[in-house]
Symmetry: C2
Subunit: 231 residues, 2 copies
């Protein structure tokens, strides 16, 4: 596979881009990583994802595939000789898809809420509580999914691991910036152990941003976000 055959439009801090990178790593697919500049959108991005104009976009044999979880499923279905990402059993697949959708539709918006709501605001406490409740649901789901292995996917990282794990660095950054505890050893011991296994996995460790580097990036973003609009 020549590198030019597979391109990924992305950026190192994006959890959604990380999903595609982990899936490509699991399948040992070489790819060209084309990083978008923050606050700019390349011609190639606008052409490849005209509906959302967002990263990640996987370009395979000149055809663009958008939306991170759809990209992960595509990678699993195209490079079938590598380890499977989705579970093989249809019911297990449905459960993995259910929680992955929950993470994107309900849980991660609350994580983002913590960052966006002003300090001291009552809604901030609510967002922290929503994140904690979501993690407890996922803690309960873990032993039903993992079949005794270290991962939601069992012995190996799978679809749900990727869907949740890509947010771990942002979770730590959110904890630091807001002085809150989100992933709590006492309440979610399974997830805490899982998070360690996930971050040290061969397919993950080189694409998971260091917390301090991501923290710096987050501070730059926040400064931009809070700056008065230019006239």
């Amino acid at each position: 596979m020549s590198t030019s055959d597979v391109k990924l439009l992305g950026g190192w801090p994006s959890p959604f881009v990380m999903r595609a990178r982990i899936a490509l790593n699991i399948k040992s697919v070489d790819y060209e990583f084309l990083q978008e500049k923050v606050g700019e959108k390349s011609e190639l991005l606008l052409k490849s994802n005209p509906v959302y104009k967002k990263i990640p976009v996987l370009i395979h044999a000149d055809k663009p595939i958008c939306e991170s979880l759809i990209i992960v499923q595509y990678i699993d279905e195209v490079w079938t000789s590598g380890p499977s990402i989705l579970p093989s059993d249809p019911y297990d697949r449905a459960i993995a898809r259910f929680w992955a959708a929950y993470i994107d539709d309900k849980w991660f918006p609350s994580v983002r809420g913590i960052a966006l709501i002003a300090e001291g605001d009552e809604e901030k406490k609510e967002a922290v509580q929503e994140v904690a409740t979501g993690l407890e649901l996922l803690e309960d789901a873990f032993p039903k999914c993992n079949k005794g292995g270290n991962f939601f996917g069992g012995e190996r990282i799978g679809y749900l691991d990727i869907a949740l794990g890509c947010f771990l660095a942002w979770l730590r950054v959110t904890e630091k910036l807001n002085n809150v505890k989100l992933l709590d050893e006492a309440k979610t011991p399974n997830l805490c152990k899982w998070a360690e296994s996930f971050c040290s996995d061969a397919a993950v460790k080189d694409v998971m941003p260091e917390t301090d580097k991501l923290l710096g990036f987050a501070k730059v973003l926040m400064a931009r976000f809070k700056a008065p609009p230019a006239n």
Copy 2:
């Protein structure tokens, strides 16, 4: 397959429930249709979908599967001897999943917006415009998906047909209640023809609600929604 092995918790007016029913029809699966009462939630529903407490839920061999598009994929993966619902090619699957997610995340919320925003409000016009723009995007997508057939899925109804088609009756009701034109022969001729083929398909015609019956249901719902809260 005994009917008791497959149960569907649902309700006839729900477009999301219709997705599961069409998929079961395509695969010729007998099922028990357990209709929830409006405004109530059965014990079985609360137990089967504790996270969202929403229909549809498919119960297969006593195991619950939630979320309509996940149910459709599950049905496709379990009853493999029937016609395929997802396209066989991974790229075509990714495209079908992309537009199905677009419909749920972006397009249908605008349709609902039309119904919920008060008459005369500027936002109502915006919602109508958003719905029209979405339909034009899907009109453009149609010839790229259908490979010369009558459906997004080609010769037969597939995943994207189900994802969009389930909203056709609600679209007509929204048009009538708000005196607007949404599916327009001049702007979206492909979709208008597709809608006719879809509604008269054997897997669809018995589960697609009649517009007048659905209109009556919508009026009851709206009366309830607008009624002052009981003390």
